[in-house]
Symmetry: C2
Subunit: 395 residues, 2 copies
Amino acid sequence: MSREEALKIILDTVKPIERTESVGIDEAVNRVLACDVRAEVDVPPFDRAAMDGYAVRAEDTFRASQFNPVKLKVVGFLHAGESFKGEIKGGECIRIATGCPIPDGADAVVMVEFTEEKDGYVLIFRGVYPGENIASRGEDIKRGEIILKKGELLTPAKIGVLAALGYRRISVYQKPHVAVIPTGSEIRDPASPLGEGQIYDVNSYTLTSILLENGALVTRSSIIPDTFDDIISAITRHLDHDLIVFSGGSSVGERDLLVKAIEKMGSLLFHGVQIKPGKPTLFGLVKETPILGMPGYPTSCLSNAYIFLVPAIRKMARLPPKDPRVVRARMGVRVVSASGREQFLTVKIKNGVAYPVFKASGDITSMAKADGYIILPVNLDVIEKGEEVTVTLFD
Amino acid sequence: MSREEALKIILDTVKPIERTESVGIDEAVNRVLACDVRAEVDVPPFDRAAMDGYAVRAEDTFRASQFNPVKLKVVGFLHAGESFKGEIKGGECIRIATGCPIPDGADAVVMVEFTEEKDGYVLIFRGVYPGENIASRGEDIKRGEIILKKGELLTPAKIGVLAALGYRRISVYQKPHVAVIPTGSEIRDPASPLGEGQIYDVNSYTLTSILLENGALVTRSSIIPDTFDDIISAITRHLDHDLIVFSGGSSVGERDLLVKAIEKMGSLLFHGVQIKPGKPTLFGLVKETPILGMPGYPTSCLSNAYIFLVPAIRKMARLPPKDPRVVRARMGVRVVSASGREQFLTVKIKNGVAYPVFKASGDITSMAKADGYIILPVNLDVIEKGEEVTVTLFD
């Protein structure tokens, strides 16, 4: 099965989360709106001064100029947060701060820069037209308008819109809840003492990190021994999650146990992908819960997580597909594609030149040093030194 | 003062956080390492099988071929997590799962695909060279090697390296702790009833969102009235933070209070930037704490946050500078630059054509609808319809 076919099966199977929850708008950035947002108020909620200056009847100022200023009586001073109860009459004005409501009678604001105040009167040196320097009620958002839609990603600006409309909390979709289950009789949790033939669990930590970065909640289970009964029981215990990801099982025997467990409890949708590294990746469904089995080797597990798990979890979390940054580079060495499979080659870029960092498929350092990867198509045998390639960056 | 000069002053003033804390590696993604990491173990910690198959003495297999297989005695079966106490002698082999330690005496693994087992013996149809299909002890990481350096950003792959080395917790730099202080006698917290002339606080929520996205911890203060004493007291109460950000104060009078407060308590480093929107942005230092005063209009506040606050907080958090995505687009309408200032024009992109979304500087919806922005230089008066422009995307 090709990578494209495998990814299509995964994306056809996983479903966007329907559960919602209410969160404070101060913690809602990058969450996904679960309702349309209709404006219950006008923004601004009243005609207001867009500048510091004098609220006037515009017609009083029409003849004003630098050499023939108009003189108006100042009947008050509105500071921020204040409003004026009376009405501005012909020949009158009121000093006003930006953001204050325009008093009745006034229909424009003269900027303070074009005035001179003295003894209760102000000289106006420039005329204004009706509406000048006023932000009208509802100019930004009109009451009744649907201003944000269900499914929109909440950016800082959209959170600002919610605040402007008076929302302190908002309904968003819940994050998909993923169980990461490390398996393997030979693996131990970091910081435990290592016995003969044992190694530390790497994959459940890299997978957890990737899931957290892509909008999931993660439960990392304790390490499950490689027995059929333990795997059946681990799946059963985690069926209340939105997705189960198994990490580990680098030997054929271990993978076969997971295949058999899924076949017994539900259905296996694929096992084996024509991609290097990553051949052993498998996917199935038990009741409503999709189960992804990742390769055991850390680099294979990680690159397959970028290829299959990230698109799956972003669909479930209703996040837009990741649009990775790509750069062009020249290959620093000759690369021979060993397999008849599509190949992911991790590279480091120095001064526009790409060098492979891959050592052996068990190596985690190669991924840690890589800036990105090149995809070698199935039918490509060699990339010559100096040839131009497209590198997809990890970021 | 130009944008470049203002940004330089800010970046010369704010300091990367020196405080560290210990976090679990399962929550350390995107944190910054506060120590060099030296490998205390070899990875892998022993010579191990890189394939499922038979661990053999390579010399026993040299003559093996499809038509002349070599027959070896199978003296055991190592499943994942098991190891073999004895030694493999001439004419012997052991069945071995990927990842198991290579027993003494054996020096290669024959892949199971090239074998046939029957009655305690196995036929080997292909020879192997010494070391074939073995991952040697320390091949990935050598004990004593410094494998990750202080200041590195922890990606999923680097968290995998920490796990492989047996670290369950790791020392990272603390996140900068920022106080966001909304000011303004006219603003109310969302969900409170609005009185005459009052509007909801928008800026402290957009700023909080931007800060959280860029690696900060945020304390949002209650709304501070526009009086000199209240501002002095708000600064005093928050001096234990790494940065204080004032939002609000769209009128000249309000801004002047903050200017005077900073001048009384410390030093004002700049006030006013030749950029539109954003002229009123100010920056100062009280004791050791930098204070950034943002414009009061939501769009001005938000665009100035992208210009000044994001680089500042990322330096403090020791995160790499944001490398924004840029696209080329054609201008959908003729744009006239009104000011003698550098101008940030927010745009929406449809089918490769950029349309301004800016309505008035008080509008928050314009930012919420924008895909990115164009910078119009100080000396540029007009962009013709159809002219090519560079759009920096918000993402």
